[in-house]
Symmetry: C2
Subunit: 651 residues, 2 copies
């Protein structure tokens, strides 16, 4: 077929480069790359509507390489195309030979796709498998919100399709009729340790995808006609899955063996590999053909939309009134932090950048206020948290500000996806509701308890720009929940907020300001300093009362509402309180207590830090007081511990 | 149909009790329970081969209630049956009225199924959705190993089936032909916040399950003939899925509304609910019928197998030789901890209780040694970590000792499942390979970095018996990896071990003993104390050399290989080293450094603790040295920091 000669020539060129660059790197997955050489070439040189010179064009089609390990073929093509990398303010153009820098410490060609280090062709870091379809779905959701006619191609491995998240993502595509996503299953039959299961064969995948309600095309992934027909077929009513049968290690004999996954050729095998590909070129009749750019691309106009500028939630009382909570608050003098989150989210929705997703618990997290007001910007993700987190990464990559919510316990389901979003520098705001033990009656299967240990790990891991990979917000009352929700919308990057089930008193004036890393010194005392967060601030306040009334002790109380925390200032308060700090948390170890203790252990002040946290796996009790009692965290428990701390400091 | 009259009578009785007990508790999910009243009654009074008086019978059929929130109906039935709860050494028999203790702080009837608090009818804590099919699959895998003819019924909600893990589990069932599992999808059409998606309708679920290769029966879940036909149908070549169409809130009008999920009736609605059910009884012609036990159960003989006693891996050198690593070790003087794990696992396999699972990376984690030697006890879980973790919980519930392995990074995928296993007190041993940054070239998408923050949260959360919910093992060399693998097999409960990719020198004699919470004081010095773990022990050893040679400083070196750690003893070593400790880790914050710093902050010794850990999201580099340099953790970086610590202590 004459019309593909230049592409055949290109495939040989890229194939050789893929083999060479992995050998040069001493690692990488050349066989996976080769299985995709035709599909990638078709997409990147012909099908996608984009401009390799402007990867920031927000109206472009995009490729999500879910099978991240196959990335050398994309790098080879992008270098061949002179693609631009870096940042808008300091772009740089790749040359063909730059591909050989694969995996170098100072190369943007990371081992797996990684936009955050300056490879903006990609929207998401991939490599932990099974997440790409969700990212593409999120990009598509955002494109619908923006009214942009963009297409999203996602390449997913056959073995990779074992990940349940892939099927969550297909459900999401069908639910939301995201027909501008085209999922390509690369069926090269080989996984890492073995051939893939019959459950992941091309035939079974086709059958499964059809049952999930998608349109399915099964093709030979090395046949140009079939490849182009499938990639350019008009989108119908259903999202489309292309099941592409490919050859792992296409064109290179040594790379076709079952144990060649993730192994580069040794230096001494290179010559034979080149000869294999030359022989392929001869078979294809392109051995003598000059390499041409072979590019036939159309470039869409950028949308011109700005994604900059602050987002406002307005005033607390107006936002609360807008969702009908004012009367309730007035009557009870109390409001749950989760309701205030919902009110803030609904208020922030006035800005079109704000998008929300929730996992079938919007009536518990109170994302419902937003969903009702802005249904076109609310994407119900159902009971599938992994997909929800990765989809939010896609929404974020499109310049939106996605808020996602579920029970703190259930968000754990998406922790790996969250880490990939952190690597990506995605701009997602998570709200984990029903955190801690105050959920009570439902028991430990619904309680968010190890979340602070995990999130704090990221609070002290810096992105390339020095910003915390995840910032943690721990509101104690409705005002702080409201303000911190607004704060999250206005900082770039991942944020995690904990909210709680029970109604709690409002302790802040509505004009109180809240800051990253901040805390509030609520009560000034001198005998010891109690630091609490979230729900526990209320128990701690009662404890301060008890201490004063029963023991005549004057305790300071600090509401530490954010991580990473300004620990220096808290240590100084502790220093003023006879050098004694007692930290109270309703989670497992690893949160605010460790934050302050670790600072104390490097400080010359000699402040002592005791920690009260959840030290036992809880069970159900009918009331928050019941579970707090069970884990030793009631106001009385705190007062008792504080008294001991004081007595020891006296001794 | 006369033959079901006693069961119809029972269903009315149980239905009333479900409604009452949730109202009494003030929370719970009566409507979900009612949708299952016929299926539960059929299973618990007729179909299951078990003895409510001996829930520890290891040859019994079992029910896994994946839709854990529906548990009140199971409790009601089990109380009606006089089922036994507690522990083998102190069993107690429930009475019908005990159901009213639902969710009490001192009741074994927890908000969601929770065997660990003394409800041995269940094998796994459920309630975080989508995990039960995997648990049933693990139970079935163990039954095959033991040659036991047991059946496992798993009830999963329709909305719940959105969780990708459910589909991972179905793949696993088909892969391993686990035909003794019967999955029941309870299609009551309602989720929490809305009706379920069309993607989770009975029709779509049937189509999907068929495409996944299962035999599918669609039934009316309130029709006795259909229920019994499906539950008792002979198992064929394929595992079976029963798609049961049910009515949420069956029998009680008020509980059939779309917003009734998870809401108990108010006290004042009880009378009408009882009247509704009485009317149902009248329709069924059983209003006047006496309640009978209605039980027709057969009880299998317990297997008589013992699950007690120590497990031995034998000697290090023999185990290494048995997998052909001896020559390699001899030649290089080095061996990767992941290989030693594999060798230990293969050696432990001599004990039939040991079972292994891996997620398509057995040739990287070296579970391959076991897989080759004991294929009948190796279950390849493919690229689906969530299912792997929950399946291991099932294997553990059958009295086996499951070891599961994948990259530390990919195990994050199963953290929620791991937490459910922790709540269950499951006896799973996890090995996360390629931990830290020494993986290097593949980049951050493959590196285990926040794992210690998460695991340490559980290291300080106690089970009912006071044992740490997760014990963490951090081997630094092949001998310690080997010994700690053996240690994990011999302690009851969840353990997590980190192994690393690179070969490292062997630093321990093969008769060294290792203990829970232990550490080794490798080098005795006096100017400061360096504490390191895992791979970093080798960098720290080099740093100690540098300090001695370049600065004439004498540093102590401690290998802290286990969490929770005996910090008191380490603080004393620090105290002897001018009160200065420097902790080195190749993970994000939240691990050994925080462990020691937190202890120092409550200690009177006044020891200072500085922490070096991964403070930046890394990227690829070609060598471990390259990534260590990137994150400031080379031997030279450590030596430099140690020098500063020393200088400050002098100042």
């Amino acid at each position: 077929m004459a019309e593909y000669k230049d592409l055949d020539r290109k495939v040989i060129k890229l194939g050789k480069q893929v083999v060479r660059m992995c050998t040069e790197a001493g690692s990488g997955h050349p066989s996976s790359g080769l299985s995709l050489v035709h599909l990638t070439t078709a997409l990147m040189y012909r099908v996608m509507r984009y401009d390799p010179k402007n990867p920031w064009n927000d109206a472009s089609d995009r490729l999500v390489l879910s099978a991240g390990h196959a990335v050398p073929v994309v790098y080879a093509a992008y270098c061949d195309l002179g693609g631009v990398v870096g940042w808008p303010e300091r772009p740089s153009e790749l040359r063909f030979d730059d591909a050989m820098s694969l995996r170098d410490a100072d190369s943007v060609l990371d081992g797996h796709p990684n936009p955050a280090i300056g490879f903006p062709f990609f929207d998401a870091a991939t490599g932990s498998l099974g997440q790409g379809v969700s990212v593409a779905a999120g990009l598509a959701a955002a494109a619908r919100v923006d009214g942009l006619d963009r297409r999203f191609f996602c390449i997913c491995g056959d073995g990779e399709s074992r990940e349940g998240q892939v099927w969550e993502a297909l459900d999401f595509l069908v639910d939301h009729k995201l027909t501008n996503v085209r999922v390509i299953f690369n069926c090269n039959k080989q996984g890492q340790s073995d051939y893939v299961s019959e459950q992941q064969s091309a035939e079974t995948l086709a059958r499964k995808a059809e049952a999930f309600g998608l349109e399915v095309k099964v093709i030979d992934g090395h046949n140009w006609d079939e490849v182009f027909d499938a990639l350019t077929a008009e989108a119908g009513d259903k999202p489309m899955v292309i099941v592409a049968k490919t050859v792992k290690g296409w064109g290179v004999n040594e790379l076709q063996s079952a144990d060649s996954h993730g192994k580069p050729l040794k230096e001494e095998s290179l010559e034979q590999a080149m000869a294999d590909l030359d022989a392929r070129a001869a078979e294809l009749g392109v051995a003598e053909l000059e390499d041409t750019p072979a590019v036939e691309l159309t470039t869409p106009e950028p949308s011109g939309k700005s994604t900059d500028g602050p987002v406002s939630a307005g005033s607390f009382s107006e936002a609360i009134a807008a969702v009908g909570l004012d009367a309730d608050l007035e009557k009870k003098g109390k409001l749950a932090t989760r309701r205030a989150y919902g009110a803030a989210l609904a208020a922030l929705g006035a800005d079109e950048r704000v998008v929300a997703l929730d996992g079938d618990v919007q009536n518990s997290t109170f994302a419902s206020y937003f969903a009702k007001k802005y249904p076109e910007r609310y994407f119900e993700a159902r009971i599938a948290e992994q997909n929800m987190v990765s989809a939010a990464a896609g929404v974020s990559a499109a310049g939106k500000i996605p808020f996602i919510s579920s029970f703190a316990k259930f968000l754990v389901r998406g922790y790996d996806q969250l880490e990939m979003a952190a690597i990506t520098n995605a701009n997602i705001k998570l709200c984990g509701s029903h955190a801690g033990v105050s959920l009570a009656a439902d028991g430990p299967s619904q309680m968010g308890l190890p979340d602070l240990g995990y999130m704090r790990a990221f609070a002290h891991a810096a992105r390339q720009d020095g910003v915390s990979a995840i910032r943690v917000m721990l509101p104690s009352d409705a005002v702080s929940a409201f303000k911190l929700t607004e704060l999250m919308a206005n900082v770039d990057g991942l944020c995690y907020m904990r909210t709680h089930r029970p109604d709690v008193p409002v302790i802040y004036e509505e004009d109180t300001e809240f800051f990253e890393g901040g805390f509030n010194h609520l009560i000034d005392g001198e005998d010891l300093c109690i630091v609490a967060s979230g729900y526990m601030v209320h128990e701690a306040r009662r404890a301060v009362d008890v201490l004063e009334k029963k023991a005549g002790l004057s305790a300071s109380l600090v509401d530490a509402y954010s991580l990473p925390l300004k620990t220096d200032e808290i240590l100084r308060i502790g220093d003023d309180c006879r050098g004694q700090i007692l930290v109270i948390e309703d989670n497992y170890v690893g949160g605010v207590g460790d934050e302050i203790a670790a600072a104390a252990a490097t400080s010359d002040l000699g402040v002592m830090v005791r920690r009260m946290y959840v030290r036992d796996i809880p069970k159900s009790a009918k009331t928050p007081e019941g579970t707090l009692k069970m884990v030793g965290l009631t106001a009385d428990d705190i007062a008792k511990a504080a008294q001991q701390v004081f007595d020891q400091s006296e001794a």
